[in-house]
Every structure is written in C-alpha cells, then in structure tokens.
Symmetry: C2
Subunit: 210 residues, 2 copies
Amino acid sequence: MQEETTGTKKRIRSDAARNEDAVLEAAKTVFATSGVDAPVREIAKTAGVGVGTLYRRFPKRSDLVVAVFKREVDACAADAKTLAKDHPPGEALSRWLRRYCRFIVTKKGLASALHSGDPAFDALPDYFRSNFEPALQNLLSAAAKAGEARSDIDAYDLLRAIGNLASAGSTSGGKAGGNAGDDPEHHEGMQHTYRMLDLMIDGLRYGKSG
Amino acid sequence: MQEETTGTKKRIRSDAARNEDAVLEAAKTVFATSGVDAPVREIAKTAGVGVGTLYRRFPKRSDLVVAVFKREVDACAADAKTLAKDHPPGEALSRWLRRYCRFIVTKKGLASALHSGDPAFDALPDYFRSNFEPALQNLLSAAAKAGEARSDIDAYDLLRAIGNLASAGSTSGGKAGGNAGDDPEHHEGMQHTYRMLDLMIDGLRYGKSG
DNA sequence: TTCAAATACGGAACAATGTTCCGTTTATCA
DNA sequence: TGATAAACGGAACATTGTTCCGTATTTGAA
C-alpha cells in the first residue's frame, strides 16, 4: 500500500511509519473495545501518540475508521490465500468462512456507521466486495474442482447470507462489554452463528455437483 | 395528547404550553431544513426560546426528535380520517397515499436515525405501524366496499412498499438543500415517486375483486 | 387591583469531542 | 557532528449536548 523505494519522493521518516502503524493498531483495539464512536484522544493515548500526530496521518476521524476497516478487510482477504496454501480446498473454504464470520461480528459496530449516510464511507462497500468476492470465489472454485463443494453457489450471495447470519446472531449494540472473560468467540450468539454456519457449509459439501 | 382539564394536577402554565408548541414547530422546520442533526441551539433560536426552556420540556435531544416524529405521524394519520370524510372512498385513498408519500420523503433523515441503534428510538417503529396500519386499513376497506379498490391488499405491505418507493426515489442525504425554489414537491425524484405511486394506485383500482 | 408563591424563562457555564496550531524534538544526510 | 526538513505532542479553539441558577412571568387569592 505504501511506496517505500518508489523514488518519486523522499522516504517516509521511520518514526512516522512506526506511529502510523501504532495508531492503526490502537484504533483497531479501541474500536473493538469501546465502539467506533470512541474519542480520538483515547485512540491517540492507546497508541502512545499525541492527537496532532494522529491527525497528520488521518486528517479526519472518518479517515482513520476507513483505514482500519480496509486494513482488516485486507487481512481477512489475505487469510484466504494463506488458508488455501495450508489446507485442502474444502477445509480451507470452511475455515475461511469462519474467519469471515468473525470479521463480520467484530465489525458490527462499523456496519451501522457505514450506512449512516456519511459520504466518507461511500467507498467501503465496494472495497468490501471487490476484496472478498474474489477471495471467496477462489476458495469456492478450488473446492468445487476438488469435488469438495458444489459449484452452483455465487460467492457474493454467500457473503451476504453469512453476513446476515452473523450480524443477526451477535447481540445488538455497538460496543463490546470489555469485561474479563468476555471473549466474543465463546458468546452464546457466536456459538449459534457457528452452528448455522456449519449448516451452510454442510450444504455446500453435499449438494455438490453443479 | 395533553391533559387539560384532567384535574389530577395543576394546569400547565399558558406560556409553557405556548413554548412547547413553538419548540415542536421550530424543530419540525429545522429538522426539515438542516437535517435531524441540527444543533439544539438552532431549534431554540428558531422557536424564540432559550435552551433551558427547551430542555425542561425535552430533557434529551432524542426526546424532541421522538416528539416531532410522533406529532407528524399523528397529523398524517389524522388526515386519513379527514380525507375519508371529505371525499369518495377511492379518492380519499389515493389522496392519502400521496400524503403518506410526502411524509416518508420528509422523514428521510429521521429514518437513518431510527435505525442508528439508539434505544431512544426503539418505540418509534411500533408507533409508526400502530397508527398508519389502521388508518390505511380503513381507507382500503371503505374503497373496497365501494367497489373502488381490490380487497386483497394488506395495509402494512402497502405501507412498506410505498415507503421503499418513496425513500428510494428521493435524492440521498440527510438535509434538504434549503435554497430558494427548493420545494420538494417539484423535485425530479418526487415526480418520479408520484408516477410510481400512481401506478400502484391504478393497480389497486383495476384488479379489484378479491 | 395587588401581591406572594409557584412556575417557567433565558442564557451563561460546563463537559465532551473533533480539529487546528505552533513551539519543540527527532531523523536524515552530508 | 551539525544543519535542516519533517514529525511530534498537546494546549487551545470550535461545536455540541446538557446543567444551573438568578430573573421574569403567570396564577390564584386577598
């Protein structure tokens, strides 16, 4: 994403790069802990940085939100490739669907911001789709070719279906409780979501044919 | 809505009543002009009132939003009765559907607030439905009985359909432009919405039978 | 009509937040 | 090592929601 040896311009100063990363990491944590509406100051403090530093890189609060969102979309999409390399096609597919499920639940708070009408977020749905659809399509195709999944499922349909599943299953509200032992992975709703997801995965395996 | 001679408690002071009304009226105007996110101060100023006065009646900003919303739902639902009294059933029906259409377009900004997850607005969808559904049902039944509309249409379905129609047709964004000659009645989108609505109304007339 | 008590009023003041500014510190490079 | 450009930190500013309280108004009775 960043130009390092592109030569067209000076290199980014090392402390600047370090801080940009720290801010993104902090923002990810704080958004998950206190919701997307968490104050900028809290993020800056978590990152061990002044607000001025944060604002140089992300002139608007929404820019930070967008950056975090994209970064996590990237990470989730990248996992698709990793999983495809480390597992047999069917296994890679079902593992990634769980991974995607977790992504959706985590981003529950963001979702409402996305549809808030703020033009700052207009580009995100496209970003979401243009990264996830091919990622899933690859997994799907590979699994189908290996005879481990049916081939008549549209990747985008599946993304939407699981998205609905996961966001309906997680308890409402924007911010996570943040209390000890509060791992979302073990919430009742999350378990329910996983069960429903398993159902869909089974559906993908059995009707296989096309 | 307000108790005047209920005797259980003192009467509301006249200036208080006057101001409450002024604030609601101002809020309605300001919400339409600057969007639901308009500052409380702007509403107070428009009403010719101090913020303290506004806050005594509406302790939370959201209380004011809710009050305005309900008031307009009431007004729109009341128009159903008026129209039914002043026009033949089919005419009353189609006139009210246009009226409802206007309501939806005006409340476009509110709609996103409603689904923002703020618990303050939780009661509004019910309020909406429990007022509009019977209102429309009456018009539909009367028109059906008079042979001016089919009788196999569900009031709530129709409300939703027109709601979608109208909110899709109006240009996006929360606030109205507010420039001169900006009457929403004459916007391109509104005209389009009316044309679609006419289509539905014709549909109601012709397939009549049940 | 006049007066006292109850009630409501207005807007300054407070708190929380996003954002900007600028004097100070640090990284880079010769 | 020192000059310079870049980045830093956080105080200060602007905008809001909300609270407080001294002042003005309404009301009911004398």
